[in-house]
Amino acid sequence: MSEPAARPVLEARGIVKIFGQHRALDTVDFTANAGEVHALLGENGAGKSTLIKILTGAYQPDGGELLLDGQPISLRDPLHGQGYGIGTVYQEVNLLPNRSVAENLFLGRQPTRFGLVDRKKIDAQARELLSRYGLDIDVRAELSEYSVAVQQIVAIARAVELSGKVLVLDEPTASLDRNEVQRLFEVVRGLKANGLAIIFITHFLDQVFDLADRVTILRNGRKVASQALDTLNTTDVVRMMLGKDVAFEHHPTALAGATRGQVRVAFKGLNRKGLLPFDLTVHEGEVVGVAGLLGSGRTEVARLMFGVDGSDGGQILVDGQPVTIRNPAQAVAAGFGFCPEDRKIDGIFGDLSVRENIIIALQAKLGWFKALNREDQVELAGRYAEALDIRAANHDMPVKLLSGGNQQKVILARWLAIDPTFLILDEPTRGIDVGAHAEIVRTINRLREEGLALFVISSELDEVVAYSNRVVVMRDREMVAELDGDAIAPDAIVQAIAGTPQEARS
């Protein structure tokens, strides 16, 4: 497969990995060439993370072999892999936030003098090292004082220093903004020019086309393709990942107003310290999309609506009747559902079964003494798992074993099970692969057609445009604009976020 000029650094041949009855990887070949960025794509559950864990030594393959510079190697653990020159940088920075940047860079191999850590030398070396990455920062400051992007670059610098042959970037851009991504990419391009083999994993296709030279696509544990990116376009890649033609249906936005029904929920002057009062109504069969940068107050609005944070004033009406919502239990009683942004922390019950995770909100709503019996639970879980296409070996397995997309669907199923009147989704597609992503967008559209009122927060403008009847734009903890009907377009939203003159908040 490799072109004559390319020099393979890390090669995997016929890798097989089996978990229980399940073949997570089935005779997968993968080659990382020197001086090349190789993107690894696949839906959640396609085997990406398993392959990465095998390449870095976290897992041992059940079949196949690894070759480094043509020599077969066998890795015991990631540290062993590091010794061979294979370094990894994860999405969540794996460093010590409460130690200085310099200490983080040299942890475990500090230069010493007379047996003591030579702080001056560390700081000097750290400064010198980071300057090569275009970072001029105070290396004595605690790592946590810097942005995630800087931390990410520090992590890369450390990984490259320790390893230096292969660099695995596992979704490094997930929590970065556009400028930070570009900055990171410049660093990566520099490393590429130095002859490093870079393996890049992400959910953002545009970033793949921006940065990568080659792409390997996995689906259901098998390699679908491995080829140079200049021969491909986005549609090809998506088709290979999904095995079916699922692109976003950028449906016309003319649906605004036409299909929506009565006012379902109305928030009047709801406010809280640090969040300006807002008025908002959501109708039956309507999706109100929320756009805004991180920190604009999007999530705070959702938390206030659902009673996660108490309000300092204002009124909430459901079907015209005032309701009191001071905690999530009251919100659930009022028929609200909330898929929080952070699935792991606020969403799933990892050790509980898929079935229990689906029925838990309904059970909480029913109270302690109206227990759903097993048949009801199995029926409910089965129905919503089918409706949302939740893929699990069985519904008695712990939900933590599912992929991110399926976990998100489980939380969605949990709320659909209470037959909600109003559903709040905070970044429902974050950290989810393209396939599940498209499915969730479709589900949102379907729920709207079924008459549900939805409030959906998303950072992806295309997505917001695809399902919203109305779009509320937030800036500086205030709802600054509301776009309706034909006015909904990515450009208009960007202008509103940026603060270029627009119609005022109604």
């Binding site: 016929g14 097989v16 089996i18 978990f19 229980g20 009855q21 399940h22 997570a24 959640n44 559950g45 085997g47 993370s49 398993t50 897992y59 041992q60 059940d62 259901n220 544990g221 996660v308 999530p328 239990a329 659930v332 009683a333 909330f338 929080p340 922390i345 606020d346 969403g347 799933i348 019950f349 990892g350 050790d351 509980l352 229990e356 838990i360 909100a361 059970q363 909480a364 109270g367 302690w368 003494f369 227990a371 759903l372 097993r374 199995v378 879980a381 089965g382 798992a385 939740i390 893929r391 699990a392 070996a393 069985n394 519904h395 008695d396 397995m397 074993l401 599912l402 992929s403 399926n406």
Partner: protein
Amino acid sequence: MTRPTVDIRPTTQPPLPPSRPLTHFFTRPQVIALAAVLLVNWILFPGFFTITWQDGRFFGSLIDVLNRGAPVAILAIGMTMVIATKGVDLSVGAVMAISGAVAAVMVSSGYPAWIAVLAALGTGLICGLWNGILVTVLEIQPIIATLVLMVAGRGLAQLVTEGYIVTFSDPVLIFIGTGSFLGFPMPVVIAAVMMIAATLIVRRTALGLLIEAVGVNRSAARFAGLSAGALLLIVYTFAGLCAAISGLIVAGDIRGADANNAGLWLELDAILAVVIGGTSLMGGRFSIPMAVLGAMIIQAMNTGILISGFSPQFNLVVKSAVIIVILVMQSPLSAQLFRRRTPPGASK
């Protein structure tokens, strides 16, 4: 070789029927451990399994194990649920002393026995509620919150008894500690009823699932609309009630209330029983019957060492050895070793 992880996703998803054959029960480490301990007891003391019928009740070493193990078993019932919520209750031993003292002082100052019993149970409820309020309203970590009552409780008990060992001859209280029902000692009957009732209540209502949910992820429980605070209050209050019942049994058994020694260190035995029973200190999945079984394992060891004539100090060493064995058997490591022996399917 490695644990199954995120990537398990076969295409078909038939909901598996719950298959829990009886062999599953008998291969549990706890059951094997209990059988082993009983076997050792039998080797040390051949008459161990002999049960005789005398004066309308059963007698024998086995009955003795059940009888002596009952107070810790009852504590363990309440402790299981506390631990399932990711908490712990260190105060149960002290609460035993308080409730025993209340009952003893009341009967010896002339109150009818039923009022004394109710007062003792009420004391347990209040103590439990106090712990619950510290944990939920003031959001103090359970280990610290209940440490308060663990330390202060013995003082309270001494205040109640005014520093004396209050003895009594009330037949009802003595019956609770030493009487029999259908041939079985009252403590055994009470523990069995408590175990069955508590299991039915948590499993037939949604309480069990909701408690597990709070223990697994308290934040997610809040987002799912669970009232975690109310659940925690109930759980700690129930642990207090269990402690009060144990306290009554111990007081009735010795016909007096000893504020200093009643229930001393039993909270640790109860925690141990719960852990041996397989409920993780990290909260989540719990089993009340297995915790009771854990209490019986502990008592079977105590009894075995007693009847074998070893000095009681030896008890602690043996106990810790057995505990280590059980915990190792439950650890992920041994689960892995066990799994490794089964062939991992078709491999290349």
